[in-house]
Symmetry: C2
Subunit: 368 residues, 2 copies
């Protein structure tokens, strides 16, 4: 939707994206991937919009990544040549739907159990489609993924024997790396060693992983240090957020998304209440800190957004750079933009002080 | 929508409500309010569905409460005789919409600033409608509400002079009371003293507050102890949640809403990953504890739901009562049901093992 209004006319609370910053973010990562010969399959969980998925593909992404089948269905709208479901798809209902997606584009699923692989194989056989598989291993995060070594090789060999699915390679997600500082880079080195040993195991077992898909946002621009890695699937980079800034992976001016809020009460001295709380921002905390901080106020960095209820944001303005009155507007960089996006039906794209476009978050709430 | 399926056939993750428990919860509070001569104007933020709002009205509620104008628009569908917007409505766009609501039913707004009251008066005059006002005071929570004493009386007197709005009474929300234990009841006593002094101030100023609206969920069934209070607007009681249980205001068997999830990975020994994370539950913590607990597993109370990402729930099953495999289903009582409901488009109402009805969360995401 093309609109003609000022950013200051957007009713609050609202999710607003600075298009110049977003475009710069998209270009930077596309260039990084190109320069290092890495396949880019961005995770769309951050934006959840076909419009942005399309831009990622136009910018050189080889495909798109989603978590849920419902998101895969939505992202078909961006016409990707290739869709990775980076999540174990379990259960007949979801698999039936996924096979419908697989009729329309190439689908790959990351799995960490033979149970999951068998279900996919059965569904693919019934639907007469082919599905790619990435065997997922745990690179230290301790979430999904089988242990590197024997269990991983065994899983890969079993997958290779199942009909209508083909083992395309490996996937991992080092979500435990939270920074680009010395500690973060040491963690990345450790991940690189794990990947190296996994690839050695696979050579010995005579399996050739065509795709080795991994990486995480904090060390995104260091992905080329992991030898053998040939695909990255970052998500947050499109908008960035306060967590990304704190991790060292971007600067504050790289944050494209802010929540625009209005001051609704200043009844308590030294404090203001804004019309955005956990229903607008999510209640996600910043990683690596016990500090209760729920966002960064562009208008007054020394103001402290310290507490939330669903519809109320509490901001300590006792040290703020400016005074605030009921009716004033503020722009806030959220802690975790992916979680915030999922709470909004639409996004306002601005350039300067004008709203240039409004788009729907079509993938919002696609839980299944 | 009337459906004919088993609860076990609901695709996960999903929000499921036990209708027997919900009906008992609705009846209990309706009876309590009736027995104590309290007006009941339930906050619909918990369920956000006209179907449940209608049941509350049928059960004797005098009206309904909402936070946002968008929720007021939705709740018109329940045909309430009376709608309280328990939130300062600021800005022309919202007020124009609110006046449309006020054409269709009696609307009251809680305000804590003359700024807000003036804006409402201006909008009401322009739209030629009448709007009721509750002057909101701070009973110790420190969120919205002017300080009791002179500021509150001054606000009330100013409101009374503005055209097309009428001062109906007072509102407060003692959200700082987190339990029904000795400490919680002592806090309630303190709130009662504040209310008493406020009412004395009003008598001296010759203002008669027809409505004194207050109370919070933890001490819901002690509301009659606050002398002068004549309206309660509880929300959570319809479903209850783990926070309510922990506060002492209900038992575990009074929790009507659970999230049904599927185990998607058991790759890591002693841990399972379920297909619900912060996008399904919200990342709201339990109050009054640093313990990272994100819900209560009905199938295995000793399992510990200790961490979440958006789509992943991490459950420590090292001490669990049962074994779990990929594909197993679990039912989990959430920490904070209001925040969870806002993440779901629909709710499955079950009786026994059958799904009896499915309803939409029409008020979901109504941020403005």
């Amino acid at each position: 939707m093309i609109v003609n209004m000022f950013a200051s006319e957007i009713d609050t609370p609202a999710l607003v994206v600075d298009l110049n910053v977003m475009e710069r973010n998209l270009q930077r990562v596309a260039r990084y991937a190109r320069d290092h010969g890495l396949r880019l399959r961005p995770h769309t969980k951050t934006h959840k919009s076909t419009r942005i998925g399309r831009r990622q593909l136009e910018g050189g992404a080889a495909g798109l990544t989603v978590a849920k089948v419902g998101e895969a269905e939505v992202m078909l709208g961006a016409e990707p040549a290739d869709l990775l479901v980076a999540y174990p798809v379990i259960g007949r209902t979801k698999l039936t739907r996924l096979m419908e997606v697989a009729r329309r584009t190439r689908v790959t699923v990351a799995v960490d159990s033979l149970f999951a692989a068998r279900q996919i194989s059965d569904a693919a056989r019934e639907a007469e489609v082919d599905v790619g598989i990435l065997a997922e291993f745990d690179a230290g995060f301790g979430r999904v993924g089988v242990a590197p070594g024997e269990p991983l090789v065994a899983l890969a060999l079993s997958i290779a024997r199942l009909p209508r699915i083909s083992l395309e390679g490996l996937a991992f997600y080092p979500g435990h790396i939270k920074s680009t500082d010395e500690e973060g880079l040491a963690d990345l080195e450790q991940v690189a060693r794990i990947v190296e040993s996994v690839l050695a195991d696979f050579r010995r077992a005579d399996i050739e992983p065509r795709i080795v898909s991994g990486g995480s946002t904090p060390t995104l621009f260091h992905s080329h240090r992991v030898r053998g890695l040939n695909e990255i699937r970052p998500g947050t980079y499109v908008y960035n957020d306060l967590s990304t800034v704190r991790s060292g992976a971007c600067a504050l001016e790289d944050c494209a998304a802010t929540l625009h809020c209005t001051v609704v009460s200043t009844a308590r001295p030294g404090q203001m209440i804004i019309d955005g709380g956990s229903k607008t921002f999510s209640s996600d905390r910043l990683p690596n800190t016990a500090e209760p901080i729920f966002g960064y106020l562009m208008e007054a960095p020394a103001a402290r957004f310290f507490k939330m209820n669903e519809e109320h944001g509490y901001v300590d303005i006792s040290k703020a750079e400016t005074e605030f009155s009921v009716g004033d507007r503020v722009r806030i960089v959220p802690n975790h933009v992916c979680a915030a996006v999922n709470l909004h039906d639409q996004v306002y794209g601005i350039r300067g002080d004008r709203v240039e476009e409004v788009w729907q978050v079509e993938g919002r709430g696609k839980l299944q």
